[in-house]
Symmetry: C2
Subunit: 334 residues, 2 copies
DNA sequence: TTGAAAGCGGTACCAT
DNA sequence: ATGGTACCGCTTTCAA
């Protein structure tokens, strides 16, 4: 029987509902527009017919016609560690909560670059940047199209870009002072490549605190913000001159370093202090009990979503750079 | 000067490009359509003008007119543990790689439910389910709209739904046998609430293996797939009759349980074996060295993206249920 | 090879 | 309060 196998059934349109309810298409549109003139009984009848037919207004037509797209892109990068993935997940929930639908772009550079070109064909209300290396290029493409950008992991000095960023330098400077007060004098650092902006900022904060105490960095290693890279970096550093504190640019690497020191039987924090940055959930686990700097994801998400809303409301509002306060979390590894 | 402050500049359209290049709108459209009749010089001129003006075809209009939306929704649920977030991140990358743009829905039930109704106004090519509790309802809504569903964490017996799911029962049965061969006789289990489908399946697999050896489950605790819940569940179980193996429905809980046993000074695996499921990155860390069942994310993503492509190509293709093989990963906790 | 014109499915502005 | 109609920006006939 024809009809039982619906070959990719045509979407139900307002015209279908109008016919079924015996009204005009205009009335159907009004039924779905709160606060529009429409007889209450008629509205109910339309809504009933719509429900029965399974009608949903086609967002494409509504947007094309001039409506809000409610579409926000998140340029998420590779998300190599749990902090990045937690942020992405929280950003998604936060955007959903304010009625915005995130189009997420992730993966390696080549994939993300190709994806960007395609995603920019959709009318985005904002682009949220969380990637490392590609951010400037993405921001430039967005600027050309008038898509507002919110950079949330590094500060981008470009017109049309709002910035949300935690106080990387302050946090690491506080951490440096804590270590110095604790008697540490030979401090090693595990950072990241040039493209990891936050690593550079955090390093700077640490160096500032050291300088103020008449000290310099004892050693400098490069990681990749993953647990494994922290493990490897610690091994490299151990092969060099001795140190009594190991500051890692993020918690993942600190946990990797911690694992290596344990494997080698080096007591933490007695011989070497190990500290991180972010305060991921794992940092609090008894197995690690990591001293770190709390980088609050909930505040980040609130700030970003607020910025999205205000930017959408007032496209011409001046660009903002909002700093998020961090705080020391003293646990057992310093 | 007027023009310096562009009040939310109007998007450049094909008509603008046509005018700039001195051709018709049709020609502009053709210039962006591979394999269409158009003078080569003219095409280059159009492309040049487009680039100069910063033109991108508006996806809304193209889709409305009948083109592919390339939009796929991921109903991701709360993503309470790292495995869920890793899967979501991998799914995003995988979809990007095949030229599909994922609209992600996440967060708590109320938020997700509201989000769903809105996101369904977009013409989705597929809906990927990863949530726990809301899956049936979502699938029903999708069916009504003719949106194909791919369930990737539980098996949904509904028309129009493709299923991808790891062999939960087989994996846990293998694990059960491993423990029995290792001499364990009093096996406790930490599962999840009713809505965690995989917990029930994994429990069933374990029970089957135990029965085959003439054993039954010694104790049954309920977790929530988070590390903390594993920690708490282990504490509860320890208050009851003794056991020599603790099987957790996922790695996060196993790691939590492991932490508690360590806190209590109970030797693992000498006194109690602890095992999990999923083989998250953390399971391999020296700090945990967890015996578990490998649940391969890359295979899952490949299977899902393949299913998306084939479903889009042939909307009428028969529904499929694809099982993903799992394998024991023997480390140090059994 | 090219341009004109008809839709896609909504919304909003008309009169009525 | 209601129905008719123009239009959003694109793709795709159709005729030239």
């Amino acid at each position: 029987m024809a009809g039982t196998i619906r070959k990719s059934a045509r979407r139900v349109t307002a015209a279908d509902v109008a016919e079924a309810a015996g009204v005009s298409r205009s009335a159907v549109s009004r039924a779905f527009t709160p606060g529009s003139y429409l007889d209450d009984g008629k509205r109910r009848a339309i809504l009933r017919a719509a429900k029965r037919l399974g009608y949903r207004p086609n967002a494409m037509a509504a947007i094309l016609q001039g409506g809000a797209s409610d579409l926000v892109a998140i340029f998420a990068g590779e998300m190599p560690n749990d902090f990045d993935r937690e942020v992405a997940a929280a950003l998604v929930s936060g955007l959903n909560a304010i009625g915005k639908w995130p189009l997420v772009i992730g993966g390696d550079e080549a994939t993300a670059r190709r994806a960007l070109a395609n995603v920019l064909r959709y009318p985005l209300e904002a682009m949220i940047l969380r990637s490392g290396s590609l951010d400037e290029g993405v921001a430039k493409s967005c600027a050309k199209l008038g898509v507002p950008v919110i950079s949330s992991g590094r500060i981008l000095h470009m017109p049309g870009v709002d910035n949300v960023c935690c106080r990387n330098r302050d946090g690491m400077a506080d951490m440096g002072r804590l270590l110095i007060e604790g008697g540490r004098r030979r401090v090693a650092f595990v950072g990241g490549p040039e493209t990891f902006w936050s690593a550079g900022e955090r390093r700077l904060g640490l160096v500032t605190a050291l300088h103020a105490a008449g000290l310099t960095l004892s050693a400098d290693a490069m990681g990749a913000y993953t647990v494994q890279s922290g493990y490897d970096a610690a091994a490299d550093l151990l092969a060099g001159p001795p140190f009594d504190a190991l500051v890692c640019a993020n918690d993942a690497m600190a946990i990797g370093a911690l694992s290596l020191l344990r494997d080698r039987g080096i007591p933490v924090p007695e011989q070497i202090a190990v500290v991180g940055f972010d305060d991921i959930a794992m940092a609090a686990w008894p197995a690690f009990n990591l001293t770190t700097v709390r980088n609050p994801i909930d505040t980040l998400v609130e700030t970003v979503t607020d910025l999205v809303q205000r930017r959408v409301e007032t496209p011409t509002k001046p660009d903002e750079t909002i700093a998020i306060d961090v705080s020391l979390v003293c646990r057992g590894t310093h």
